[in-house]
Symmetry: none
Subunit: 219 residues, 2 copies
Amino acid sequence: MDISAFFPVWNNLEESDRNALNAAAIDRTFFKGEILHRSSEECTGLILVRSGQLRAYTVSPEGKEITLYRLLDGDICLFSASCIINSISFDITLSAEKDTAVTVVAADVYKRIMKKSAPLSNFTNEIMASRFSDVMWLVEQIMWKSFDKRLAEFLMEESNIEDSLTLKITHETIGNHLGSPREVVTRMLKYFAGEGLVSLSRGTVTLSDPVRLAALARD
Amino acid sequence: MDISAFFPVWNNLEESDRNALNAAAIDRTFFKGEILHRSSEECTGLILVRSGQLRAYTVSPEGKEITLYRLLDGDICLFSASCIINSISFDITLSAEKDTAVTVVAADVYKRIMKKSAPLSNFTNEIMASRFSDVMWLVEQIMWKSFDKRLAEFLMEESNIEDSLTLKITHETIGNHLGSPREVVTRMLKYFAGEGLVSLSRGTVTLSDPVRLAALARD
């Protein structure tokens, strides 16, 4: 296995450490809908996304969900290996939104090298800061932004990710991303449809006026 | 200046680095209500809290606030030195909730040493993970908002049963009553304490503001 492409600091690692990391890496494939990781107790390992799309989210005791961030090609998930850092005291759930090819690096090997390698530790810091920034953005969205803008922004993001104006997505799934009940999503989508921003049919949302949707999202 | 007490990894740093960090440290005092840090562009430096209480919060474009976490004696604020990590793309505001004595470590010196020192980099990672955990907890509170009410209700009930505002009860026992892990109870009780709802000492929880607790429970 060669995982060097995921690590900008690869050439700053010692050769023995590079070899140990490669030896601790295993390729796996997950099908759309599969859950890769559920609890911090699992410490599945560092997940490197080779292709596909993962969703990181948190689940309430009652089963409600909200999306924290997405992981795409080249991204690394640290929190699937949360045992490498003692102070991580939260759980995320990771599921495949598309068929996804990943490489999993054993947490104990990564941790051993990170503990003694300043380059790897600093790189790990950057990964965490990047996810932290995603979550801070989410906090600000939840706290300050009204639901219509969040929904418009979500539709624009999805459209970018899918590279299509027609999204195959249910109102319930949208609700899970945004942490909102399905009824709230349906109501707002109907309002958007009435305004000519989207058109709705069973299982799809089509962005009819992406320019105005983008303006609403930015607002 | 001797800042060693703030760094559990102090003895694992090189002597020249320890000297450089001490030389880059300046004591400052902030009065209750003063703002220590406002934007990531300032890169004020690493703030070490010697005594007092700081509040880290985020402010909306309209001036609304939400508390992210508190910093007490012995705590370190990393995000007042966010320029040390490239991927931090959010701002926090820091203000003094009590008269507060801090030591500020120059960001450029800290960054230079962190980049080459695995122990300091790993410790920085732990600080960030700890704050990240605080913010994830907040996200869950904001989104699901049930445990605080259940805990408030439980404390009111216990107080009625015991006919006392001081409850001799461990966090573990409360967790057992509510079907929640001890850590979750501890964290929420600390949050309540920060809000002035309860005061905590070993083996006891005192209801400092039963009127507001009752309102929270009913809410």
